[in-house]
Amino acid sequence: MKFYVRRITFYLVTLWAAISLNFFIPKLMPGNPADIFRENLLRQGGEITPAMEQTIQLLFGSPDDSLWEQYTRYWSNLLQWDLGVSTTKYPTPVTELLAEALPWTLVLVGTATVIAFVLGVGLGAWAGWKRGTWVDSLIPGSALLQSIPYFWLALVLVAVFSVNLGWFPIIGGYSAREFRAGPEMSWAFVSNAAFHAILPAATIVISSVGGWLIGMRNMMVATLSEDYVTTAEAKGLKPSRVFLTYATRNASLPSLAGFTITLGFVVAGSIVMEQVFSYPGIGKLMITAVTQKDFALMQGVFLVITLTVLAANFVMDIFYGLIDPRARQNV
């Protein structure tokens, strides 16, 4: 019991610290959002009419109250799930922007992470089982994949498959031309969205499968030389049974732990990819918020990211506490 109390206290303290940081970091950022907004508009090719000029200052006027008042108000708003109004996407509330973006990121990056995990762990288990054979030559290849810069891979994929070959769409989460009224509940839409997700997902899978593979392979090799595996083999159990029940099951535990944590980073991990593909997810929002100094949006995005990471860690802690009694003593 003490274990759970300690963990929960720990998570509450971390949560408080993280949320406070979320509040203060944007406040510490320099720069005048109004000015940035105005210049961005001009640079993107917009015209500032006299009427707009008047209203920009109003929109970006900074509050006069003290930082402490802002901090307490931030908390009270937060508890009512009010994250303020975005300035770059004025007058949309931040919660609305997040709600719209979150499903895209969750589905795309979530699916890709699961695929990469299953593929990586599967191949890794096999490579471990076949240790000492030609299969070991998968290792350098995996190490290479692991180190490819994400965005570079994405750009190369787009240049080859979308621009030159024309097989895949260049950008977007779905075809805005075919679905002008936005997302809808139809097979046509879902298949369109899935089609648009192929290249982004491939980017994630290709660049993260290597890590899983090497990790799993090493765990597998280590597990296979454990005494109980030797015993199992000596007893004359079928190789497939040894492979699955004795080796893979035990070897995949750390990978599973890593997987839970990675899932926590699903929301945060796709910033660069979403930028390349103009994918309508959380990462895009974050780039917009950071580059345009949209403080409310920035805080909202950070909050979502921190919450998911914390939640994933929490789940994994509890999970480990349940299956591994040693973890409960070794906090």
């Binding site: 090719g45 015209e47 007058p91 609305e96 089609f195 192929i198 580059t291």
Partner: protein, 576 residues
């Protein structure tokens, strides 16, 4: 030409993706699927996909995803499609040519003798797209609502089609702001907002009521679609049934989509335009408008520091530049030639005083540059850099790291300056660094833009960027609307601008401009580099009547506000 997306996919991905795409669809209750169709009684009932035979014309005007539907002309986040296609101004000022303003909702206008009163004749018979009449009261309301400009004293409807505006000072120079950039809004919609912050918070995303050629059909976070206004006041316009604006992040994506025929109209800097126009399906026009210059903190009296406060150094640096190479390599040969008088060549030629150079030198003149420095008492040091009194001619040049063409230009400038014994150290910075430096005056050199004037008259540029009234001491930030980053202050310029502001007499104006030009060409507070290209691309296979070099009936940019409404109202197509 128009390539539909091919439907190939992995079943697994489709299945897994389907689950939460549905979730996405569900949570998208904010999407205006349920938008009431704009137009009310006046709009025809052309709903239902079965009747849609034509595809929409697809525009990229610079929107980034996600789009927030906002069609309020008073909101800073208003979408491009609102200004021009939906809301209109009284007159259209074609900033590409020296021509008279073209009547839109107004038919004619006249200033009184001293420029304190403006009488506007309105077009009769115009209707808002909700069927109500467009009246003189609406015009009065548009000028006197909670967002009223400071220089307007009052507005009154003289009769049903005449409006008289009174200003609190001679206001010849506000002609464009009043007639060409103030959008007319219906009193019966905007009248309910009693304060500026309420007005700004109005997204107007359901059925914006304007007089323009298009009305809103649907808006999502990825795109928004306008459809033809059947009761538009110009007979036979618009020919287009639907126009769709896309959100795209990243110029290279937009370029690739234009190449693939997925966009019909966009304005974007494309370094290799032949990759798009090569097939002959797409036409490009290039309309250079806005100058790119080196700001120099020029005025030591107001606190500027550094070698560039000496006019000889500024002159030598200007002479050392090989603008032809800068244009060719950094701006891929698409930039226009700049005049040292800052009058836009071709359009503003009549304002360039006799004896003033029309074009700035395109080739470097290292010998002359060195002579200027030597004459001013500088001598070359052992490191090949000029110096005087132990002070090296060495300056830091700031550039925003994201602006790749400017970054390239600075690298060229640094190497060209070095050849003439001038050290230019490039320092990349981000938005804040750039903005703070130029607002506060705490810099030596910055590469940056100037805002070209919206009508064929360099007045606004001279006043806002060169006069002592539009600057502050170094260390004090410029106020919004003040653009004189260089802290340049010259009595002759200030007086000449005063003279020009109070007159409509061209001869008087030209004489005043001549005085300004003589000063700024000699003093070079801004070192002219090039005129930025503005490239616009049109799908000419499926659509016709685009602006061309010979018939530039409006500024062709897809993001131009009033002009994009004119262009889209004019385009014919799609061809069947």
């Amino acid at each position: 030409m128009f390539r539909t997306t091919r439907k190939r996919m992995l079943p697994v991905v489709a299945l897994t993706a389907s689950i939460a795409m549905l979730a996405a669809a569900c949570s998208d209750s904010t999407d205006p699927k349920d938008n009431p169709k704009p137009g009310g009684s006046a709009a025809p009932t052309s709903d239902g996909p079965a009747e849609k035979v034509d595809r929409p014309l697809v525009v990229f005007a610079g929107s980034q995803s996600p789009i927030t539907p906002n069609f309020n002309p008073y909101a800073p986040t208003v979408l491009h499609g609102a200004l021009g296609p939906i809301y209109e101004t009284l007159f259209h000022y074609n900033k590409t040519k020296a021509v008279d303003p073209e009547p839109m909702l107004g038919e004619s206008f006249e200033f009184n003798e001293d420029g304190t009163e403006l009488t506007i004749k309105l077009r009769a018979g115009v209707k808002w797209n909700d069927g109500k009449d467009f009246t003189a009261d609406d015009v009065v309301f548009s000028f006197t609502n909670v967002a009223k400009a400071a220089y307007i004293e009052s507005a009154e409807a003289v009769d049903a089609t005449t409006v008289k505006l009174k200003f609190n000072a001679p206001s010849f120079t506000n002609e464009w702001a009043v007639l060409g950039a103030s959008f007319m809004v219906p009193k019966h919609v905007f009248g309910e907002f009693t304060s500026l912050d309420k007005l700004v918070a109005f997204a107007n995303d359901k059925a914006p009521v304007g007089t323009g050629p298009f009305v809103l059909e649907a808006a999502t976070s990825a795109s928004y679609t306008l459809k033809a206004n059947p009761n538009y006041w110009q007979e036979g316009k618009p020919a287009l049934q639907e126009v769709q604006y896309l959100a795209i992040d990243g110029n290279s994506s937009a370029q690739a989509m234009m190449q693939a025929g997925e966009i019909d109209y966009m304005s974007l800097f494309v370094p290799n335009p032949e990759s798009i126009t090569g097939t002959g399906d797409v036409a490009m026009v290039n309309t250079p408008m806005d100058p790119t210059v080196l700001y120099t903190c020029a005025n030591a009296d107001l606190g500027c520091k550094g070698a560039q406060t000496d006019v000889a150094v500024r002159n030598a640096l200007s002479l050392a530049l090989d603008r032809a190479t800068i244009n060719e390599k950094a701006f891929v040969g698409l930039a226009g030639t700049i005049s040292p008088t800052f009058a836009l060549l071709g359009r503003d030629d009549k304002w360039i005083a006799d004896g003033m150079p029309k074009e700035i030198a395109q080739q470097a003149n290292v010998a002359e540059a060195e002579k200027v420095l030597t004459d001013a008492g500088y001598a070359k040091g052992s490191d090949g850099i000029f110096a005087k009194d132990g002070q090296k001619v060495s300056m830091t040049l700031k550039v925003i790291s994201d602006w790749s063409d400017y970054v390239s230009a600075t690298e060229l400038i640094a190497s060209q300056a070095k050849a003439a014994g001038i050290e230019v150290k490039v320092e990349t910075t981000d938005w804040d660094g750039f903005s703070n430096a130029r607002l506060s005056g705490d810099y030596e050199l910055i590469i940056g833009g100037m805002v070209g004037t919206s009508l064929a008259d360099p007045f606004q540029l001279y006043r806002d960027w060169f006069t002592g009234d539009y600057t502050q001491k170094v260390g004090t930030n410029l106020e919004p609307g003040e653009w004189n980053m260089t802290r340049y202050s010259n009595k002759i310029v200030d007086e000449a601008i005063q003279t020009a502001a109070g007159t409509r007499d061209e001869a008087v104006k030209k004489e005043a401009y001549g005085k300004v030009q003589a000063e700024i060409v000699r003093d070079l507070p801004y070192i002219p580099l090039i005129i930025n290209a503005t490239q616009s691309f049109f799908n000419t296979v499926d659509y016709s009547n685009w602006p061309t070099e010979d018939n530039m009936f409006a500024f062709p940019s897809s993001w131009g506000s009033v002009s994009s409404g004119i262009v889209l109202g004019n385009v014919q197509g799609p061809k069947k």
